[in-house]
Symmetry: C2
Subunit: 577 residues, 2 copies
Amino acid sequence: MRTWNHILAAEFVSMMVLLLVIEAAVVEYDWTVDYTYASPDCVEKLVLSINKQFPSPTIHAVEGDTLVVHVTNAIPTEGVVIHWHGIHQRTTPFFDGAAYVSQCPINPGETFTYRFKLDRAGTYFYHGHFGMQRAGGLFGSLIVSLPAYKKEPFSYDAEHSIILNDWWHKSIYEQQLGLTSVPFKFVGEPQSLLIQGRGSYNCSTVAGVPHGSPNCVVCNATNPSCAPHVMPVNPGKTYRLRIASVASLSSLNFILEGHKLTVVQADGRYVKPFQVDNLNVYSGQSYDVLFTANQEPSRNYWAAINIRGRQTSTPTGLAILQYMPNPATLVPTTPAPVSPLWNDTAASVAQAKMIIAKFGHEQAPPKKSDRTLVILCTQNMVDDHVKWALNNISYVARPTPVLAALKYKIRGAFDSKPPSDLPVKDYDVFAPPPPRFRNATSGSPVYVFKKDSVVDVIVQNANTLTPNNSEIHPWHLHGHDFWILGYGEGSFDSQKDPASFNLVDPPVRNTVAVFPFGWVAIRFIANNPGAWPFHCHIEPHFHMGMGTVFAEGVNNIPTLPSQSLGCGLTKRFLRYR
Amino acid sequence: MRTWNHILAAEFVSMMVLLLVIEAAVVEYDWTVDYTYASPDCVEKLVLSINKQFPSPTIHAVEGDTLVVHVTNAIPTEGVVIHWHGIHQRTTPFFDGAAYVSQCPINPGETFTYRFKLDRAGTYFYHGHFGMQRAGGLFGSLIVSLPAYKKEPFSYDAEHSIILNDWWHKSIYEQQLGLTSVPFKFVGEPQSLLIQGRGSYNCSTVAGVPHGSPNCVVCNATNPSCAPHVMPVNPGKTYRLRIASVASLSSLNFILEGHKLTVVQADGRYVKPFQVDNLNVYSGQSYDVLFTANQEPSRNYWAAINIRGRQTSTPTGLAILQYMPNPATLVPTTPAPVSPLWNDTAASVAQAKMIIAKFGHEQAPPKKSDRTLVILCTQNMVDDHVKWALNNISYVARPTPVLAALKYKIRGAFDSKPPSDLPVKDYDVFAPPPPRFRNATSGSPVYVFKKDSVVDVIVQNANTLTPNNSEIHPWHLHGHDFWILGYGEGSFDSQKDPASFNLVDPPVRNTVAVFPFGWVAIRFIANNPGAWPFHCHIEPHFHMGMGTVFAEGVNNIPTLPSQSLGCGLTKRFLRYR
């Protein structure tokens, strides 16, 4: 639904006059969040859906549009929120959709209206941001195009968009319980990988088709609920492919069989074009890539995703690149594309370093920072539970939105003691935490930054509780894009490493992966008054405490709409006749 | 935890003086509601629990005590409430624990403190009252004893209490989804029946033990998580057995193998003692029965429950009556007790009619009523969904607590048009709804009664959408006990049937079953200012709309605590600096 409306409409001004003067689109949706049945990999399961669709509906809008979404929660007992991943929410921090940070959860039966400006074109997405509801299926694409009068610095004939994720047959309720149980029960590896909500699992139930075989796709092709996603192309034409990952756990590697991919955008920001055969997409990231349909046109090709960074037997997720006029059902007979070895970290780092900003299209960062956080991410024990911690604090959300607590100076809503800017000294990131650092504490920390200050954050990875193990963590910051100044191995050296920072053309984005046993340095300007989660985008990791909250311009937070309040300590503000 | 405190404590009065004058107990609990794993029938499942216990902890208190329960919601995304079934909540209607009637759901992370007086001894229980959370395992016993200076009008040597329910392996999330899906997916019959949270299922996985065999119990006996519940007794002694049912769907029949049961209380109210071999316990009801351990003492005996009113293959739920000093593991070799035929409605009605109030212990009802509702309960279609309706309205909760809407005159919180006191005329209760009555409407009706008025409610059963089918519905009224004036078959005749009402010694209780194709007449005094659900206690039926709200004394509702608010239209009352 797309309705045209007027930003400055006022009753006393003739609508006819206004039409000639100023026009901006309001893109408006009525959404109902509810359970539904879906069989994305041919196994039926309860999923969280919007308007009974899985994946949730794709939003198409134009830069400058105002997006208005009326979200009605029709789930019997669960609250929900919708986070608009990559949208900065300038002047509307209360519409960021992070439960207990920007707003109270929308209660069953309530309708909450999100209303904010899409101030930058790009490939974005939205998803649930309460418990592990994203992993439960609550996500969709948000495609913001340039207005007609603006031109991209690259050309193409048409576009497709796909959203990627990993999929479990176990409910998110059980997944969450396992993660917080003693003994710890991990969610395990996914049963399938989905491209635009379609995947294949358990081919072994089909006689003669081995588990994980691409021939699964043949079997599924006739099942409308799990038939592979199809992208039709015309031979010789060039396409823009918008790729986003909302994976719960997996780092994904995308391959378009036989086709080179030219990366032109990352998280909606321009990068210097570079070509790859396969592309790593970490959860929370998006890429815009160009490809030309220049292969033998008498057949179709695989679009494929595999898991990076974890050793799994999860079958390749497959979709079909359909060369017109071949039928979509002409399934490739070639084997499923193979990605780099799961533990080839060097390849991952090398590709990450290929990404630099496109000259003339992105600003360089300020030369110096006003404050530097070094955040050591460790796996710890808290009261016999396995947790993740940042500088020894494992994040637990408390029921008063941080934004409300800051705006209205509500005491007791989060930890009064500020978290530490620096980790303990001389921590060995190559070993499991020694006994004295094995236990962390739970908390609700908030880092408060001076308005317009320049902040550096070094995210320092480390060994987990398991010897010789360190994992990939994609770190996402709400409300901002940041410059990625550099990656390194081992412990960050605050004396030497800053010298290697790229201050000329670092890429700008909202999600960056920190690699096993390594660190990443980012810089951002704290110029968006509000409270913004900074967290690992892996659902189980965030659920186990791997996150924190950044806040800035706390004296400039706009008045919060009452619909965003009513939970936790904000109840104290209820005043009746 | 039991702490002694003082009702009338005031700072300026010496505590020493008060101690001599008046004393009342405050029974205080700290509860955390969370998911946990439980295997009540040897199949592991996620359940809703309090302090990680299933069933939730039993509360023991004394008449006159104040019960204080601090409920912290530790579920990741679900709201919760706790309803105190059978407790009248005089002057504290906001602590009744009915979501969206008496309060907002307790959000994840919040702590809500219930604080109310237990003004009458009896066998009660508590349970979740939001979505189908009771069926998810959120329930426990609430035993209120007489104070030492009062005596029961019967004698016994010791007591046991058991809580009964039915159990599914499918999650309540899937159960709820199925019930609201098109096409309709019923929850089906339970996999097992539990006595005090223990049952047996799937004996067929044990070699040589047929499904449903009592020998299951032998197999389970060594598994601590699903070993049968054991009630030890000393030969020759007399016991008070407190029985309560929180079944989701099933009407249960309780048998104590070889022992007669003397019924002395129903729903905490005195009845004229009568003896039975087996006892029907409808969901939402409790019974206190006496039995004497007068059987051959060298063996143990079965305590058993079977399903009444539905044709099922669910195995008998079994517990063990242990004659001391036999070991608890001495499992009876006798077959599981058999209940009356599932469709022997005449037997059920006959037993229901045996229940009359104990002379001198319960007041007779007023001779006349001020207002009479005749509520026709039908199964209907609403927008292609299968629903239950009362006088053609299928109940849907809306997100503003009715109590808050009444107290603060919030418009739009429930249907402004009052529901009808009478059904359509000449409705044929022996046939499925004819085309013109096939569709019902959804609504949020509230019946408002004049304070202290006497209200009669005739609950009229009817044929479902399936020919020749009518079901048992146990009707529960919050905030009140009512007199059961009579039962009848077919359509209630307002001219003739009142003449048959028992106005002398009708039983007093809070839950009454209406039988297939029949009606039941109840009378109560609307003298408890508040808003009180009146609904079928079968979880799937209430979830499908089989309920309504009664309200009275709306100008006398006390000020609501802010902790009970914050959802729906009450957000409008948020006032900030």
